[in-house]
């Protein structure tokens, strides 16, 4: 695998998984805040569904979206199958329950007085919600990073929805699968190591950035 191809695969991995983590967080964290701050009928069932969804195999999600995005599927007219967008959409649905579940746990652990105190000091309900998020920021960060790690390391969705097209949708994990299929195990291991180093670097950068602001 030549250097340019390798760099492109790394870039595609970071881009699709990064966007998926961002989009899923924007949906999951407010949902978790809403779940954590109120009691309602059906909440337990919702949490159970979310927990079950967390365990969904990547190929199952890949298969579902393959059907949805293929030409004969309900969203086939958008021509998204075998694109980076399709990979990102699939990964969003993969990590959405994970970030929601972790964020919910993180927000439930915030002292219930935090929101009340913010309200007593004149915060609006939205501002009080932000206070709760801020109090749980490290735990929420762990939730988002866990989502990113899950997305960047999965192969089923990337393979089924991206198609492993050279210089277009091939990312690190699909490249590893290809190298292994070719019997180039050394290349596969090197790519795996690169993936781990990248994930480690991102984790360190984000954590250091947040701590310096605290």
């Amino acid at each position: 695998m030549i250097a340019r191809e390798l760099l492109l695969a790394i870039w595609i991995s970071l881009k699709t998984s990064g966007l998926a983590a961002l989009a899923a967080s924007l949906l999951a964290v407010p949902a978790a805040l809403s779940l954590a701050s109120r009691e309602f009928r059906g909440k337990r069932a919702l949490l159970l569904i979310n927990q079950t969804w967390m365990a969904a195999p990547t190929v199952v999600i890949g298969l579902l979206f393959y059907y949805l995005l293929s030409r004969s599927g309900p969203f086939g007219r958008f021509g998204l199958l075998y694109t980076q967008t399709a990979m990102t959409i699939g990964q969003i649905f993969l990590i959405l329950p994970l970030i929601t579940g972790f964020s919910y746990t993180a927000l439930r652990q915030v002292d219930r007085r935090a929101r009340l105190t913010a309200l007593t000091l004149g915060a609006s309900r939205r501002q009080a919600g932000w206070v709760v998020l801020r109090e749980a920021k490290f735990a929420l960060l762990v939730a988002v990073l866990a989502g990113f790690a899950r997305a960047v390391s999965e192969v089923g969705i990337a393979m089924m929805l991206g198609g492993n097209i050279r210089n277009a949708t091939r990312n690190i994990t699909t490249a590893i699968a290809l190298e292994s299929a070719k019997g180039e195990f050394t290349n596969g291991v090197i790519l795996g190591a690169i993936l781990l180093v990248l994930t480690l670097g991102i984790n360190i950068l984000v954590q250091v950035g947040l701590r310096s602001k605290d």
Binding site: E39, R113, T117, T120, L121, G122, E135, D214
Partner: protein
């Protein structure tokens, strides 16, 4: 015409998820701007619930609650404005992660005040609770007493029109508690804010407040200085008692501990001349004494003061006075049911010295 800070009329509130059936009912209450009102009562009396209503953190189920002549619950934006004018310091205050300054400036920040103003007002408020110079200290490193002082400074920095304090000196050592009390009066003097605070401490309430609202079981209870007693409570599990005078035991139902202040409604006291056929025998809450005052009161009642080990004030229809053989200096026996004893204050034993 200037409106009172708070005006309550037939206010009712019940917690939606409550299993105990507790409800707060306030028939009428008015707190003037610049007034200090103390809420006194035992745990579960409704003090905190009333403070939550006054802070517009909970909406009355029915009744009228006006703040400076307006009903803030007509829409959410008015409620927010009212909440910004009526600041509550909770019993166990929560400090946000960050520094003392972050905490004290929080309320000003959500109001969009510039940073220089936030810093200056926070510094002044911290000086009032003797924490100036410690702006950059992490809030997580503070003791419970220091946290209480930061919470107080956090509220004072906002210069609210109403300052609501839920047991403001509960976590503070006695010496500092007096300084906090002084700070409360200082706020009233400087800003003209109405101050409403809750306390188990009857003497503190008397020291600070212009008026005292006694609550028990979510309702206002009448208070009489004449029949007010306090002491360390003991209990056998079913009944409890205090002994304000050696050998004079006031018994009341339930298991109550710590330092208790209670009152007995004069109308609930039964009184007969000693030796009278209907005079009570031995039993709980039976006291012997001598009539030291006997006068006609309103509504055809006689007001009788009985002095013995303890002094009680009882009321009796005028026509009954003679029938029961009661006259001035006469030895009498009085009796009241344990259920007639209303606990208006109780403090845990470790705080009883306050």
């Amino acid at each position: 015409m200037s409106h009172p800070a708070y005006s309550l009329e037939d206010v009712h509130y019940a917690y939606p998820e409550s299993r105990t059936g507790f409800a707060l009912d306030i028939d009428a209450l008015s707190v003037g701007a610049g007034d200090v009102l103390a809420l006194v009562g035992p745990n579960g009396a409704g003090k905190t619930t009333l403070l939550m209503l006054l802070a517009f953190l909970a909406r009355p189920g029915r009744g009228r609650l006006e703040f400076f002549g307006e009903d803030p619950w007509t829409d959410e934006s008015r409620a927010l404005l009212a909440r910004r004018e009526a600041v509550l310091v909770t019993h166990h205050p929560y400090l946000f992660k960050g520094t003392i300054l972050d905490n004290v400036a929080f309320g000003l920040k959500v109001r969009g005040r510039p940073e220089a103003e936030r810093r200056e007002r926070a510094r002044r408020a911290l000086a009032l609770v003797e924490l100036d110079g410690r702006e950059e200290t992490p809030a997580s490193s503070l003791s419970a007493g220091q946290a209480q002082r930061v919470a107080l400074a956090r509220a004072m920095a906002l210069r609210p029109r109403a300052l609501l304090l839920d047991e403001p000196t509960a976590n503070i050592e006695a010496g500092l508690a007096f300084r906090i009390e002084a700070a409360i009066l200082e706020i009233r003097r400087e800003t003209g804010a109405a101050v409403v605070f809750s306390s188990h401490n009857f003497s503190q309430a008397s020291r600070l407040a212009d008026d005292i609202l006694y609550l028990s079981g979510g309702r206002r209870v009448r208070f009489s200085h004449e029949n007010c007693f306090s002491g360390m409570a003991e209990s056998d599990g079913r009944m409890s008692w205090i002994e304000p005078h050696p050998g004079a035991r006031i018994v009341f139902p339930g298991r109550v501990g710590g330092h208790v202040t209670c009152v007995i409604n004069p109308a609930a006291i039964d009184i007969h001349a000693a030796g009278h056929p209907a005079a009570p025998g031995a039993g709980p809450n039976v006291f012997a004494g001598r009539v030291t005052r006997l006068e006609a009161a309103e509504a055809g009642l006689a007001l009788i003061r009985v002095s013995g080990g303890l002094t009680f004030r009882a009321t009796l229809p005028l026509a009954e006075v003679e029938a029961r053989g009661i006259f001035l200096s006469r030895s009498v026996l009085i009796k009241f049911e344990p259920e007639a004893v209303e606990i208006i204050g109780s403090e845990p034993p470790e705080k009883a010295h306050d």
